[in-house]
Symmetry: C2
Subunit: 168 residues, 2 copies
DNA sequence: TTGGAATGTCAACAAAGCTGACGTATTGTC
DNA sequence: GACAATACGTCAGCTTTGTTGACATTCCAA
């Protein structure tokens, strides 16, 4: 069969054809739906949304983080984050404490209830990720991460790298 | 250095630790931002949104598709899609024609103007994808696609597969 | 032929993003 | 000590994109 490409362009560059790139784009689109599907179901039952999940996730990852820091990680405005944060604090999932050194800052922590929801959400999300990893194998996983990292914006990658090797 | 795991659990299963899974989850989150960033900028200038991009993309991919079919691919309600579709039709980017066999159906096509925007958007998105692919290399790309496909819902994967090997 | 299923449209509402303006407390600087 | 800058919260209002509910049109099968 002919691939319509000059013979010197073999497997080595075949992954850069528009066709291959399009498949990657569509794979990314469809996979992201699966990626968020399980947490979305849990959140929906509790009348929270994806925005709450994101806040909870990164507060869990960086306990004591400030509002400003969370803002730059999430890449949203403070008004938008504030709406979400307010409901989480009102509902007793997140605790906000005035900073010791700098009293203008608020340090954010998950309460026991918040931590419980975080576990429920990340368990669900990890289950799917684990199944995908298992199905694809270790080499595929390494490639998966490489491509994703190369796809990030410069600033975003800094956030990712900073987060990356922090203990659980 | 110790990885805190029993010695018989070497590299082979290391990719399934919660730590590794968490990195994958965060990589997916941050990468998706990059994935949509370039089209988003273009769309913003033209006061369209991501939903318009998705509609345009899949109408381009399946010319003559019906509203119902598009609905199940995009995974949204018909009311939500209809709003987007209406503006695209009003603005002359999409043509909607009554079905021959079944007059309830509307068949959707891109106009010349619509096709031009589609090219602009997919060029931008492909550029980033190409850079990521090039940086990661062919083996990584294969793994990337494998993991993404394994991450999809069953039904979603059917849509993806159906789309996959259709000529450009 | 008629009643139900399928397709698509209109209306109203909710979640979550945005900008802009403003208030307050605190910090750091001249 | 005065004053600018920073961190945070909030109000108002707008946009995008999702939702449900109600409805018109068309098709098909009993």
């Amino acid at each position: 069969m002919s691939d319509g490409l000059p013979p010197q362009m073999g497997q080595s560059l075949l992954f850069l054809t528009d066709e291959q790139l399009r498949k990657g784009i569509e794979a990314m689109f469809f996979a992201y739906r699966g990626f968020t599907a399980d947490p979305d179901r849990i959140l929906n039952d509790k009348s929270y949304g994806r925005a709450h999940h994101r806040a909870i996730h990164f507060i869990h990852r960086s306990p004591g983080t400030t509002v400003n820091n969370l803002l730059s990680i999430l890449g949203v405005t403070k008004q938008s984050l504030n709406r979400v944060l307010r409901t989480l604090i009102e509902d007793g999932l997140v605790a906000s404490t005035v900073g010791q050194r700098d009293k203008r800052e608020r340090h954010l922590h998950l309460t026991e209830v918040g931590a419980a929801l975080e576990r429920e959400l990340s368990d669900a999300q990890r289950d799917r990720m684990r199944a995908a990893y298992r199905a694809a194998g270790p080499d595929a996983v390494a490639g998966f991460r490489q491509v994703l990292e190369a796809m990030m914006d410069e600033e975003t990658r800094h956030h990712y790298e900073a987060m990356k090797d922090r203990p659980e």
